[in-house]
């Protein structure tokens, strides 16, 4: 597969994800309609809700991600060192300049978000700016730029919002099934069974959607294409080593945005690793070392 295939596949997956989401929510609305005999009202509301969420995720997902992480936009005057580095990487790859943000956090981390290269943002932690050498930071930024160029950002950003919306719905359904007793019309147990069933179907689908979207291979790919930009695998490898060594969780890490970051924003070393959205750092470093060739 070439880069162009990855871009196509990312765009396709985003579209599929949105359609599946719409279908799921409308179907759920229809189920509830059937149960309460509300004559299609809930289906319409659910449809509207789904369309609004899908549009929000596409057009405002990046703003939500930046807000959640506490990223502050900067200009060239605020931090010429970082801004110019991003600018140079963009020029050498012919990518439009993304908005640059800084996260006030001591952990070394960074992420990219947006819906396409023309509407993209890169966010870097203060820790990364302070603790990484020139070429290490450049490696990290090139990795993030690759996410932008591959349209990983579109898929990953849409995932955040849609997964969030699904959990809101599941929550509502769950509550009304158990605590909304008064409104039930007689055949309560049947209805509960249906909704329970829907929820049971829901959960694994949501899980597999996440897996589909945030496959760990994406990180290896961004590592590799980032190195193609800088031509210096050791830069990124050393940055990853520093991240590994410091083992610092981010203050505002959230499950929803975790998969955006270059390295997991949680401290790791727990059962979370099993379900981690990121491949183990050691294997990423090993892959980068192979690119650098045998040491002399």
């Amino acid at each position: 597969m070439t880069t162009y295939d990855f871009i196509e596949s990312n765009k396709r997956k985003t579209a599929v994800l949105m359609v599946v989401f719409l279908a799921l929510v409308v179907t759920l609305g229809w189920f509830i309609d059937q149960y309460y005999q509300t004559g299609g009202a809930i289906t319409v509301i659910a449809g509207g809700y789904a369309v609004v969420s899908a549009l929000t995720s596409y057009y405002a997902g990046d703003k939500m991600a930046l807000l959640t992480s506490g990223a502050i936009p900067i200009t060239e005057a605020d931090n010429p060192y970082l801004y110019r580095m991003v600018e140079n990487l963009c020029i050498s790859t012919g990518t439009p300049m993304p908005k640059v943000h800084v996260i006030n956090d001591q952990a070394i981390n960074a992420f990219a978000t947006g819906r396409d290269p023309k509407h993209a943002s890169i966010a870097v932690t203060v820790g990364a700016l302070q603790k990484l050498q020139n070429e290490e930071l450049e490696g990290v930024l090139a990795h993030e730029l690759s996410h932008i160029r591959n349209y990983d950002i579109r898929l990953m950003t849409v995932v955040i919002v849609l997964i969030g919306m699904i959990s809101v719905i599941s929550n509502i359904v769950f509550r009304s099934a158990f605590f909304g007793g008064g409104r039930r019309r007689g055949r309560g147990s049947d209805g509960l069974a249906i909704i329970g069933l829907v929820l049971i179907i829901f959960a694994p689908i949501v899980a597999s959607l996440i897996k589909l979207a945030v496959s760990r291979r994406r990180e290896y790919l961004a590592d590799a294409s980032g190195v193609l930009i800088t031509r210096y695998p050791d830069g990124l490898a050393n940055a990853l080593r520093k991240i590994q060594a410091e083992h610092l969780p981010m203050a505002r890490a959230s499950e929803a945005t975790a998969h955006l970051y270059i390295a997991s924003p949680f401290s790791g070393n727990s059962i979370m690793n099993l379900f981690s959205t990121h491949p183990p750092i050691e294997s990423r470093i090993a892959a980068l070392e192979k690119m650098a060739g045998p040491s002399l």
């Binding site: 010429p80 110019r84 600018e87 140079n88 990487l89 020029i91 050498s92 790859t93 012919g94």
Partner: protein, 187 residues
């Protein structure tokens, strides 16, 4: 169907396939050529940034080192030559000459502590460094596009059409000879 009409059909299909293929290759080449030209104008943008910085820099240095007129003139002449150079190879050569004169300008600044300490000079030095980094970045992008384009017109069977349709190889924007040499450390 007779044998004759069968042959005609087959030849017809072959011609259609050939035409479709030629159109596809031609359009691909045009896309790549436009990208390369765009990349070239990106270099232009970055080079212009540097040209704009130079008069300012010369003025600043003049303020502290008035009697080094020879160096200033060299810089100004090299700048004008670079701005008027045509074609990638000539342009690259003129740019490299300009970089050399700028180096001698900065070397000269070493002799003037007041100049070296001047905030304005430091700022200009920083901006010039950035401009040069950006020229290098733009050059890499241009060269990557040239490589893709040249490869595309040289591989078989594209080369058969490319030469007939008058597609020519682009020149790389080369780095200066001096930049390419390894740094030698002497004690």
């Amino acid at each position: 169907m007779t044998t004759v009409s069968l042959i005609f059909t087959l030849v017809g299909i072959a011609i259609v396939v050939l035409i479709v293929w030629i159109i596809a290759v031609f359009n691909g080449l045009i896309t790549l050529r436009n990208r390369t030209q765009e990349a070239w104008s990106d270099i232009d943008v970055q080079l212009k940034r540097r040209y704009d910085l130079i008069p300012n820099l010369v003025e600043t240095v003049k303020g502290y080192a008035r009697h080094e007129a020879g160096t200033f003139e060299k810089v100004t002449l090299a700048r004008a030559a670079a701005m008027n150079a045509q074609g990638a190879a000539a342009r690259a050569e003129a740019e490299n000459a300009l970089s050399q004169t700028l180096k001698s300008l900065f070397a000269l600044a070493e002799n003037y502590p007041d100049l070296k300490a001047s905030q304005n000079f430091l700022q200009l030095q920083d901006d010039l460094k950035d401009a040069e980094d950006k020229i290098q970045a733009a050059r890499r992008f241009y060269n990557a596009n040239v490589r893709d384009f040249n490869t595309k017109i040289e591989v078989f069977p594209n080369n058969l059409i490319a030469s007939n349709l008058n597609f020519k190889k682009y020149e790389f924007f080369e780095a200066a000879e001096a930049e390419r040499q390894a740094v030698q450390v002497k004690f």
